[in-house]
């Protein structure tokens, strides 16, 4: 065969352009520098993601650590995680209703009602614990179904229906507990131990961290292989490996630090498990896609053939079921079902946590992880002020200010997203 001529052999054989990289007008980030640049552009256009809540958390931790060195101690953090889990679970439900641009104001009362129900059925009526919990969860689901019915078929705004629910279920809770005022759950029972003491064994915690990192790596790797095979652009192998490694080191360090004293609470493990499951449901399933669509444009969702009423129904039912679960966990944490359970700031903390974590009040934007990050911010403020021996008056004021800042950030970033075409 003929020798390739010098000049000709130099010209690179042009690969056919990748399916999603054919348009020359679009700037595509390449490499680590490009990824960083793309991130900065995204943030500047108002797509903030978790940035505000992470910055807020860093500020809060720094301030309290300077004021009281106990704040970041291993045992205080473990305690903080115990406290976060109960309201965090409730807040996870709030994320669901906020995603469809609705609200549930009655989660506090429903959680209190559920804890009273479990106390009564278990301690007073002698039901087995799992059955009592199941009954509370079913009642929670029915309450959500009732709100959805009022919203879907009678056109009652969820703001009003859940406000009346707030009063009604508080009344039911007081009625159930009228004879005693509060029911003490037996210490040493599995439920109370779960709420107060039990932590994940060290080896299991590390194994779960490793599992998470390997899982992230493998799912990303398989997706990239498929994209490559189909002629779509891929992210470099190094990026996936870095991501998995960062997860392994980050979570591994947290587990290591907590294991120095009490370890990772099981109740917090349950909460994180629910968050991961909810994140999967929101991002990876048809249901989650429909939920996001209904939150963004209900009419467009309806015309696409989505059963919008069923989506609202599922959101309200999940919210109040998780509220009931949160109530059961709170009863376990306090070892009692009292008339005060679920009252006070439970409601508002649960809603504030979702918003502080970055779920939009305007619907269609949000993440399960916002419940996790938001509740940690709120509990960190609460824990820090308790350590400083400051009264709850100050705690309310500071939490209120943080919530206001979170909503302002939400509104401003929404305006910026609209101006930059990323609404």
């Amino acid at each position: 065969m003929s020798q390739p001529q010098d000049g000709v052999s130099d010209t690179p054989l042009l690969d056919p352009p990748l399916l999603d990289r054919a348009d020359v007008r679009v700037k595509h980030a390449t490499g680590i520098g490009g990824a960083l640049e793309a991130f900065v552009t995204r943030v500047r256009s108002g797509d903030l993601g978790f940035l505000p809540v992470i910055i807020g958390l860093l500020i809060i931790c720094t301030v309290f650590q300077i004021l009281n060195p106990v704040f970041l101690s291993s045992s205080n953090l473990a305690n903080l995680l115990f406290d976060s889990s109960t309201i965090g679970v409730i807040s996870l439900g709030i994320v669901c209703v906020l995603m469809v641009a609705q609200i549930d104001l009655s989660v506090g009362s429903v959680s209190g009602f559920a804890s009273a129900l479990v106390g009564t059925l278990w301690v007073n009526q002698g039901w087995p614990v799992p059955l009592a919990i199941l009954a509370a969860l079913v009642i929670g689901a029915l309450i959500g179904a009732a709100y959805a019915f009022l919203f879907n078929w009678l056109g009652m705004p969820s703001f009003v229906s859940t406000l009346s629910g707030l009063l009604a279920f508080l009344g039911l809770q007081l009625y159930i507990l009228r004879s005693t005022g509060s029911i003490n759950l037996p210490f040493g029972s599995p439920l109370v131990s779960f709420g107060q003491l039990l932590t994940v064994p060290g080896w299991l915690a590390y194994a779960l961290v490793a599992l998470a990192a390997v899982g992230v790596f493998l799912t990303n790797y398989r997706t990239e292989q498929r994209r490559k095979a189909s002629g779509l652009s891929t992210q470099p192998m190094a990026a996936i490996a870095t991501k998995a490694l960062a997860i392994f080191i980050g979570l591994g360090f947290i587990v290591f630090y907590l294991n120095k004293t009490r370890g990772v609470p099981w109740i917090f493990g349950l909460f994180v498990g629910l968050v991961v499951a909810m994140n999967y449901a929101l991002k990876q399933t048809k249901w989650g896609r429909s939920l996001t669509a209904v939150g963004g444009n209900p009419e467009a969702a309806r015309r696409s053939g989505i059963n919008v009423r069923r989506i609202y129904m599922s959101a309200f039912m999940i919210c109040s079921t998780l509220a009931a679960l949160g109530g059961v966990l709170a009863a376990a944490r306090l070892a009692s079902a009292s008339q005060q359970a679920g009252t006070g700031d439970v409601n508002l903390n649960a809603i504030a946590a979702a918003v502080i974590g970055g779920t939009s009040l305007f619907g269609g934007r949000g993440s399960a992880y916002s419940a996790l990050l938001g509740i940690i911010v709120i509990e960190a403020i609460s824990s820090g002020l308790t350590l400083l021996d400051l009264s709850s008056s100050l705690r309310y004021m500071i939490t209120g200010a943080v919530l206001a800042i979170a909503v302002i950030v939400d509104s401003l970033s929404r305006r910026s997203r609209m101006a930059n075409g990323r609404a």
Partner: protein, 272 residues
């Protein structure tokens, strides 16, 4: 591009037949006694002035509104379009005037909305490939299918909406003002696309205010006026015929204006 001669396309069975369709909103009759057919491999243009009831008719056929009276036959069988998913499942795809896209979702999510692959684990890779294939068939200029719809221009959104309607291989496509938001080149692309769709044996019902576009692709022109049938014309009908069918009289603001212009031109020619 590929020029399909109108006579070369045989008119098949009626895909869609409307008989006596009426729709009342309270005391207002938006539509009364509408009747026409759309055959396979045929482009029917639906024209009419503002408030003639075109969009209401589209919404009825898309299952968004239910008719107050009348019958709809799809592929020869009487059907009741109770909701949008019934219409979609039958094979009626609609591109709405307001496009009905979710601005917070990306292009792939919008194209597959309600029809996602893998309900329990979304198959993002194959959905993205299919989205690119559809968009490339339409010679679309979409920078990225992973950007939210909010970042796209009007014409790009239109293309996404059309791509979405083609996803399920429908038998009938309805386009409500498909070229209203488009530039010159993209309008030509959409008209080419309509002809390609017709060549594939689909029925097309197109609503437009733009008479040029209507004449360019339509096989028949159905005129609505104040919610009633006001004639079915051939695409080579004269402008006067069309305008008088739409406005209801040969003496109207359009003809008066044309008359004035003609007079002006005559007087300017008369001058030396």
């Amino acid at each position: 591009m590929n020029n399909v001669s109108e006579n070369a396309v045989p008119h098949g069975e009626p895909v869609l037949s409307l008989r006596g369709i009426s729709k009342h909103f309270g005391a207002v009759s938006a539509l009364s006694e509408i009747a026409f057919d759309v055959h396979a491999g045929e482009v029917v243009a639906l024209v009419g002035d503002n408030g003639a009831g075109k969009s209401t008719l589209v919404k009825i056929l898309a299952g968004v509104h239910q008719p107050s009276a009348g019958e709809i036959f799809f592929a020869g069988k009487p059907v009741r379009l109770a909701d949008p998913s019934t219409a979609i499942d039958l094979g009626i795809a609609t591109v709405f005037q307001d496009l009905a896209l979710c601005e917070n979702l990306d292009v792939v999510a919008n194209i597959f909305l309600g029809r996602e692959q893998g309900p329990w684990h979304l198959d993002e890779v194959s959905m993205e490939i299919r989205a690119w294939t559809l968009l490339n068939e339409l010679s679309a200029r979409i920078p990225s299918v992973r950007e939210p719809i909010a970042s796209l221009s009007g014409g790009q959104r239109q293309t996404v909406a059309i791509a979405r309607s083609l996803l399920l291989d429908p038998k009938l496509i309805m386009l409500d003002e498909p070229t209203a938001a488009l530039g010159v080149a993209q309008t030509a692309e959409v008209l080419d696309l309509i002809e390609r769709v017709r060549a594939r044996g689909l029925g097309v019902l197109m609503i437009s205010h733009n008479m040029e576009d209507v004449r360019a692709v339509a096989d028949r022109i159905v005129v609505l006026r104040l919610g009633r049938n006001n004639g079915i014309l051939a695409p080579d009908a004269s402008n006067e015929e069309l305008v008088s069918a739409i406005t209801g009289a040969s003496e109207n603001s359009v003809t008066r204006r044309a008359g004035r212009r003609a007079q002006l031109e005559r007087s300017s020619e008369a001058r030396p």
